[in-house]
Amino acid sequence: MKILVAVKRVIDYNVKVRVKADNTDVDLTNVKMAINPFCEIAVEEAVRLKEKGVATEIVAVSLGAKECQEQIRTALALGADRGIQVQTDQSLGSLAVAKLLKAIVDEEKPDLVLLGKQSIDSDNGQTGQMLAALADMSQATYASEINVDGDNVNVTREVDGGLQTLSLKLPAVITTDLRLNEPRYASLPNIMKAKRKPLDVKSPEDLGVAVSSTLTTIKVEPPAERQAGIKVASVDELVEKLKNEAKVI
């Protein structure tokens, strides 16, 4: 089967973001960028499915400015076979991304699309579900286990209160949770090999998708600062404060 994996270029999860002084956005100039952690898990899962002989081809796709080719190369170094970049300098909302991915799905006809459950920048958690709806595919979000079984895929999901297992008809969209796997590191030889793997560049116009949004960000502000509290000298004092001052126990 063919697997399509969507990867997003985001700020590295270790970086402390700073809001711009004019409150228009966070400041992303000169900060370290990386592949979104949940997308990395999606790539790893696709590679494992290929290693098990379930998948035959893995296509990694990313949407955005030219720099997102770095994240496609990372996916290729981890084991994806080829890449597709949809080049646009516009900022894309989840619905626009889902529409662009739907157009790629129409062209590539994958049996399985893997995405992260959310990106750690916008924290929307929408794209996989929207793609599944637009492409009329079954979906499983927050996957912690994936087992392909003929024309179906069984997915165990992390839900409130525990785990739930669903059986989906292929083609399906699956979004990954943290527990699904532990991504490997790309070795230097694989990074070198990845440079020679094919990477197609397309535009939203090629795909016939208008990337508009009904959402406008009015302002971006830092959250309220939390003030340091008091030091307590003993466990007794701590229990007393929690009972009588904070009244939380």
Binding site: Y13, N14, V17, P37, S94, L95, A98, I120, D121, D123, Q126, T127, G128, Q129, M130, A132, A133, L134, M137, S138, Q139, S144, N154, R157, E158, V159, D160, G161, G162, L163, Q164, T165, L166, S167, L168, A172, L178, R179, T214, L215, T216, T217, I218, K219, E221, P222, P223, R226, G229, I230, K231, V232, S234, V235, L238, V239, K241, A246, V248, I249
Partner: protein
């Protein structure tokens, strides 16, 4: 125009987040209708009808809705939702699973996880794991949103007297089916919904030592969490991870034990009402956000804490 709130439930009990979501709907203003979609869930509709501020409860029952599979429920919600100005649901996994599908079917953007209502088209939501708050205005004809429970005080579950109206539903996309579920056996509350959380970090030393935290948690009726360091070191499974790539929590009380307070961890818990830090390193960054700081060896302090609760 009226607001449609999609109730969170398990066919027998109404989810607590529904009350916070109705509070968000009340802040937007307008008539509030509550949709209970499931199977054998008329009891839930009964519970829903007494929620303060709800004027009508829509009850949709269909075997295909029993497990609230996104493919099926989203078709129903999108069809009913056409007549509403806003469609809201709490940020339960069911809603986060289903609502973006509703938005896509209606061809509108979705706003996830709102924490504040500025006006009927402008909302605040955290981005970058809570390290920035974005105020977003929507010109969409139907505003599809999920509501972060910790952003809104719940409305009263009593005092309302909504009528219950049955709506027909034959929505079944037929592409997915429920196989099984395995709900956590623990008597401890679920991490995301707990009022009190006790979390351990690398300072716990090993997995066995988490037993110390479980004992404290059981006395407090608390859930137990962990930092990424504790998960990466293999002390506990990663579904216990609190932080940017783990779970985002905002309990009434968060007790951080042996956690230094790296930004990724703070991102997951700094909206907690009261934070307690127990760490032997008095320079640990966690003390900068803690309301009550105790500089002590956790192996002395935690057993003592347990004995004094």
């Amino acid at each position: 125009m009226a607001i449609l709130v999609v109730a969170d439930h398990d066919n027998s009990t109404l989810g607590a987040g529904t009350l916070n979501t109705v509070a968000a709907a009340t802040a937007i203003g307008g008539e509030i209708h509550l949709l209970v979609a499931g199977s054998g869930c008329s009891g839930v509709a009964g519970q829903a009808s007494t929620i303060a501020g709800v004027s009508k409860v829509l009850l949709a029952e269909n075997a295909a809705l029993e497990n609230r599979l996104a493919e099926n429920v989203s078709l129903l919600v999108a069809e009913l939702g056409k007549d509403y100005s806003h469609i809201l649901a709490s940020t339960s996994t069911d809603a986060r699973n289903m609502m973006p599908r509703v938005a896509a079917v209606l061809d509108v953007d979705q706003i996830s996880d709102i924490i504040r209502v500025e006006s009927n088209d402008t909302f605040a939501r955290p981005i970058y794991a809570g390290n920035a708050i974005a105020t977003v205005q929507s010109s969409a004809s139907i505003k599809v949103m999920t509501v972060r429970s910790t952003g809104f005080d719940p409305v009263s579950a009593e005092g309302g007297s909504a009528s219950v109206e049955t709506v027909a539903s034959s929505h079944d996309a037929g592409v997915s089916s429920f196989v099984s579920e395995e709900l956590a056996q623990s008597d401890r509350p679920e991490l995301a919904a707990a009022d009190i959380i006790v979390s351990g970090g690398r300072g716990m030393g090993n997995g066995e030592n988490f037993e110390l935290l479980y004992k404290v948690a059981d006395k407090l009726g608390a859930a137990v969490g962990a930092s990424r360091a504790a998960v990466d070191a293999g002390y506990v499974p990663n579904d216990m991870q609190v932080g940017q790539t783990g779970k985002i929590v905002a309990p009434k009380l968060y007790v951080a034990v042996g956690i230094s307070g790296a930004i990724q961890h703070l991102a997951g818990m700094k909206d907690s009402k009261v934070i307690v830090a127990i760490n032997k390193d008095e320079e640990a960054p966690i003390f900068q956000v803690a309301d009550y700081s105790l500089v002590a060896d956790l192996f002395d302090a935690i057993p003592e804490l347990e004995s004094k609760l």
